[in-house]
């Protein structure tokens, strides 16, 4: 990968730059986020309120979870192209069953999470490239979703919709959830002793295997966790849209990848930051709506999205120059 960590054997024993680099991993998307917010607020000062934040970040909750799911897979050096289709499937199941037959819905979630775990097993056992296996899986998820719900419909259980529109004190729900997800991810992946083993398995599976861990087990567990997080994405999305739709979230696949990378992750495996990913997801979901504030001419809107993506990520250059 082009963003392999720079292996510059600096002699200085303790490296404040390295610490700076780690801090900037999260700092970079955060700065991008702040700049975007500043632009939005300067255009529309009224947006700088509880209500404004509520509307701006409402739709980013499911993306946060989808990006964390993607992060788990990228942590192992894999990629999940089926993430978006899976979220779509979950919205269909949720809208169809969760309200009337919660047991069926729960069973479906369990089976699907198990399917994700099986996916990890298959990829590991046959040493398959995840990119093509998950591409195949995306067709399977979409197929099941279309069979279950041939056209958008169904309805989210009232409690779910009510929860997603709940306005808790201090900060909007979306910010609360994002903060909680980031904190939990940070504790589990970046801080805990098991998180170390998971990241180690992504960086050098052979070394972890040699130390007596079951790398198959790790892969299965991480994929299952990815499945669970994608389930949460589907659930929260259903709560927001109040319905199910097989084609609702294909964009999450690449947005999720973008959030992980923006948050300092790399495809080399083992290098991910949950906090960075969450901030990255917030940033990217805001980038999509920045357009509506900027009044970009319609034919240039999609191009502007590309440019925003470049601008947001360009900070990485400064960062890696600084690190040299």
């Amino acid at each position: 990968m082009s963003d392999a960590p720079a292996r510059v054997p600096a002699r200085s024993p303790s490296n404040p730059r390295s610490a700076l680099l780690n801090a900037m991993q999260v700092g970079l998307p955060a700065i991008a986020l702040l700049v975007m917010l500043a632009i939005i607020f300067s255009i529309r000062p009224a947006a700088m309120s509880y209500f404004g934040f509520h509307l701006l970040f409402k739709l980013s909750v499911p993306l946060v979870f989808a990006a964390l799911a993607q992060m788990m897979v990228i942590m192992l050096g894999d990629i999940d192209l089926s993430n978006g289709a899976f979220v779509g499937l979950i919205t269909c199941i949720t809208a169809l069953y969760l309200g009337d037959a919660p047991a069926i819905a729960a069973l479906c979630y369990l089976v699907l999470i198990a399917a994700y775990a099986g996916l990890g097993l298959l990829i590991h056992a046959r040493q398959l490239p995840s990119i093509i296996v998950t591409l195949g899986m995306s067709f399977i998820w979409l197929g099941i979703a279309v069979i279950l719900l041939p056209a958008p419909g169904g309805s989210a259980p009232a409690w779910l919709a009510a929860f997603m529109s709940w306005q808790p004190p201090l900060m909007p729900l979306s910010i609360w959830l994002a903060a909680l997800a980031a904190l939990a991810g940070h504790l589990v992946i970046s801080r805990s002793s098991y998180g170390v083993v998971l990241r180690g398995a992504g960086g050098n599976p052979r070394a972890v295997q040699r130390a007596g861990w079951s790398v198959v087990g790790i892969r299965v567990a991480v994929y299952a966790a990815a499945g669970l997080l994608a389930c949460l994405a589907g659930l929260t999305l259903t709560g927001l849209t109040t319905s199910g739709d097989a084609n609702v979230a294909p964009a999450y696949t690449l947005l999720g990848v973008g959030a992980v990378i923006l948050g300092g992750g790399a495809f080399t495996g083992g290098v991910v930051s949950p906090v960075g990913t969450v901030v990255g997801a917030l940033t990217l979901s805001l980038a999509g709506s920045l357009l509506s504030f900027l009044q970009v001419p319609p034919t240039w809107q999609i191009g502007a999205q590309g440019v925003i993506l470049f601008l947001v990520l360009a900070g990485r250059v400064l960062l890696s120059e600084r690190a040299r």
Partner: protein, 312 residues
């Protein structure tokens, strides 16, 4: 050396494609067999052109991928048709314009990857948005019509055999020779296996990758140019189908996503597989959801069952 009697991974696409062809023909009458195959060959040829370009990029190292293929294809089609203005005399300038668009797009992709240190998947995605916008502004409100000569050329028959698939087969042969017998081809595969090792073996890694991305863009542009002739014009969404397909045919064709290993013939097998599979599922009149499901299952089955050389 012991050579075990086993099939090479890339042959599986062909075998499954063959099986589907037989099943489809058996279902709908044997006299349909020829037409089914020639349809698959004609449409497969486009996937192969796009896939061959993608193959060079994928082979150039882990993580290298070009998601801008569909938008480069569309943009090149628009540019070339605008250049040609429906006149047969302008065919060559039109072709050159398309190829130039592809090469420049490829170079732009590579520059973003290197200069901004972005993972290729993100850099090419961002560019694809920009390219799409350019096409929107180049007359996106209409389907632009190709010169009659281009349409004739893409639909040309030589004694009952379509010309285009044959020409693309020649292209595949050229790609094979390039990979095996040219300095750039060898350097590409070396770079794909290990960038530091390639650098220290005296390979100009940046140049090798730049060429790979430019070839990929050029291949997409060529496909766009031909597709505009084949399907009667340049439309904004003409490339959409080629995003996932260009990647899938490459990987199913036996090219390693870890880089350093490429297979040009296999792309044909995979492209025929995709086309014949959709024909088969359409023919059986299977419900859309089940169609998706079967497509996914077949893709996974093929990659899972194919014996792979153990890497690392």
């Amino acid at each position: 050396m012991t050579r075990r009697l086993s099939l090479a991974p890339w042959t599986y696409g062909f075998i499954v494609a063959l099986a589907m062809w037989v099943v489809t023909s058996a279902y709908s009458g044997i006299d349909s067999a020829g037409a089914t195959l020639s349809g698959a060959l004609a449409f497969g040829a486009f996937s192969v052109v796009v896939g061959t370009g993608q193959m060079f990029v994928v082979a150039s190292g882990p993580g290298n991928i070009d998601l801008s293929v569909p938008s480069v294809l569309t943009l090149a089609a628009y540019v070339s048709i605008t250049v040609m203005q429906g006149s047969d005399g302008m065919l060559l300038p039109g072709l050159l314009a398309a190829l130039a668009v592809g090469a420049v797009a490829g170079a732009a992709n590579f520059l973003a990857i290197v200069a901004l240190r972005l993972p290729p998947i993100i850099a090419t995605l961002a560019w694809s948005f920009v390219f799409q916008s350019l096409a929107f502004n180049l007359g996106g409100q209409a389907t632009l019509k190709p010169p009659a000569g281009l349409s004739r050329f893409t639909l040309m028959n030589l004694g009952g055999v379509q010309f285009m698939p044959i020409a693309v087969m020649v292209l595949t042969l050229v790609a094979m020779v390039v990979l095996k017998r040219t300095v750039w081809g060898r350097q590409l595969l070396a770079t794909g296996q290990s960038e530091p090792a390639a650098r220290l073996a005296g390979i100009n890694v940046a140049r090798v990758r730049l060429i790979a991305y430019m070839l990929c863009g050029t291949a997409a542009a060529l496909a766009g140019f031909l597709l505009a002739g084949f399907s009667g014009g340049a439309a904004l969404n003409m490339g959409d189908a080629y995003l996932m397909e260009s990647i899938a045919v490459v990987v199913l064709g036996g090219t390693s996503v870890a880089g350093g290993q490429a297979n040009a013939v296999g792309i044909w097998g995979a492209a025929l597989f995709f086309n014949l599979m959709s024909t088969m599922l359409n023919t059986f009149g299977i419900q859309a959801g089940v169609r998706f499901l079967l497509t996914g299952v077949l893709i996974i089955l093929i990659v899972a069952l194919v014996p792979r050389p153990r890497v690392r």
